[in-house]
């Protein structure tokens, strides 16, 4: 007879621990991504809150159903064949195989459909027309009774007010997604899709393009600022004003390098509207559609060689520009507030 050493299986303990670390390490790392400025789990809008609660309820229901089914399979496999007569077996099938799932699915269906309802809209809602372009965002605010205002690569919305986005694209299919605010909606050339949202919490968040649209798809992001209504109105009024400041060396250089062939700075240069409107460029939170911080170095780098930041970008490079000139233009742009 062989004696069993109680510690002979202790070799599995370190293996189990390593295995747990191996599993839980990546899981914890992934869970860390469920928070922050770009996550549906950090909701700051009514629609994203619905999506989040839908996720939790569906996950809980799926867990309960999975455990229930596994338990039934285990129970059926271990129960003697004579445990239930024909009628008893049919009763189990009727309750657990037909009526139970039907009732559960009905409850989940009605609950999920109610969470998918769009917000009601009114005539006094703020409308924002957003166009996805390779690889930036054109935003035109259309306040009721007010002047329309065009800006780019940044979306600002008032907390507590319903905002209706009209989404389209002139080039390829993009997808407008602010995870903390609402679900993604495609921007399709020749078609306008609607998205109705209402922010519930002020703060700075992030949106992205969620449909592969070219080489710099991953660099097509934008800042989202949810503001208190009074602050928003003040900001929008400021945005409607043309750029301040008079003649400056930066403005002249901006024109002489041909930047106005694509960009407009209202009040200074009525240029083309092929590229982003730069009227209040310095008040934005980032450079290059959410790719670089709003610093002089970042602006200079983008002007010199935009493709180094965003491959495939339409803007030509200006590698020949002198250090002095690029610094002057960057200073000029950052002062546009």
């Amino acid at each position: 007879m062989t004696d069993h050493n109680p510690d002979q299986f202790s070799v599995f303990k370190p293996i189990s621990r390593s295995l747990l670390r191996l599993i839980f390490g990546p899981v914890l790392a992934l869970l860390y991504g469920c928070t922050g400025i770009q996550s549906t789990f950090s909701a700051f809008g009514v629609e994203a809150e619905s999506t989040r609660s839908l996720t939790w309820v569906m996950t809980a229901a799926a867990t309960v159903i999975t455990i229930g089914v596994l338990w039934l399979a285990w129970y059926a496999a271990r129960t003697p064949a004579s445990q239930l007569d024909y009628k008893g077996g049919m009763r189990v099938i009727f309750w657990f195989g037909a009526l139970g799932p039907t009732l559960l699915l009905s409850v989940l269906l009605v609950f999920s459909l109610s969470k998918m309802r769009t917000l009601p809209t009114g005539t006094d809602d703020l409308k924002i027309a957003v166009t996805g372009e390779q690889f930036w965002w054109r935003a035109r605010y259309l306040p009721v009774g007010g002047q329309s205002v065009e800006t780019a690569n940044e979306i600002r919305i008032p907390v507590g007010r319903t905002v209706a986005f009209a989404l389209t694209s002139p080039d390829v299919i993009h997808s407008f997604w602010i995870p903390g605010l609402a679900g993604k909606v495609d921007m399709i050339p020749g078609r306008t899709n609607d998205l109705v949202v209402r922010a519930t919490q002020a703060g700075v968040y992030r949106g992205v393009c969620a449909e592969f649209c070219g080489l710099s798809h991953a660099h097509m992001a934008f800042d989202v600022v949810a503001m208190e209504p009074a602050a928003f109105e003040q900001w929008l009024t400021n945005m409607a004003h043309p750029a301040t400041g008079g003649d400056s060396p930066g403005r002249k250089l901006f024109e002489s390098y041909g930047c106005s062939g694509c960009h407009t700075i209202r009040g200074h240069i009525e240029g083309a509207t092929i590229g982003p409107d730069l009227t209040h460029f310095g008040s934005r939170l980032s450079v290059g559609a959410g790719t670089l911080p709003m610093t002089l170095d970042a602006i200079s780098r983008f002007i010199r060689n935009p493709a180094s930041v965003k491959p495939g970008v339409m803007m030509p490079d200006f590698r020949e520009i002198s250090d002095k000139d690029v610094a002057v233009i960057s200073n000029y742009l950052v002062e546009l507030r």
Partner: protein, 129 residues
């Protein structure tokens, strides 16, 4: 009246044709719901269309449920006709009838629930978006 209908149901023989009635009605109701909704949403405004859609889907759902319930009732009466004992697996007319009746009844139950599931969104959503 009800007795006459019951006797008529007993006289009808469950067959493969009867078996395909519930899923066919389900498929037609599904198709109608989606096509009608798409057409009404495209032709009318997003909010205005919902009244037409709800009316159309209500009528279609009531008709579909009646047809499925009727085929389920016929199958139920057929499944209760006396004959051999279970299981119904021999190649006899009685076993074939019982098997088809049971299968039709189950399909009618499934189709009934599926038709309701297809119709429910029309009464929860308030626009086409």
């Amino acid at each position: 009246m009800i007795c006459k209908l019951h006797k008529l149901a007993q006289r009808l023989k469950s067959s493969l044709w009867m078996l395909v009635v519930p899923p066919t009605v389900w498929a037609l109701h599904f198709l109608f719901s989606y096509v009608y909704t798409a057409v009404r949403c495209a032709k009318s405004g997003s909010v205005e269309a919902i009244v037409d859609i709800r009316t159309g889907i209500t009528v279609a759902t009531v008709v579909a449920l009646l047809l499925v319930a009727a085929s389920g009732y016929v199958a139920w009466t057929q499944s209760r006709i006396d004959g051999d004992l279970r299981p119904y697996q021999d190649s006899t007319d009685e076993d074939r009838l019982h098997f088809l009746a049971a299968a039709t009844l189950l399909l009618a139950g499934l189709s009934f629930v599926a038709i309701l599931f297809t119709a429910i969104p029309a009464f929860i959503f308030e626009d086409c978006i």
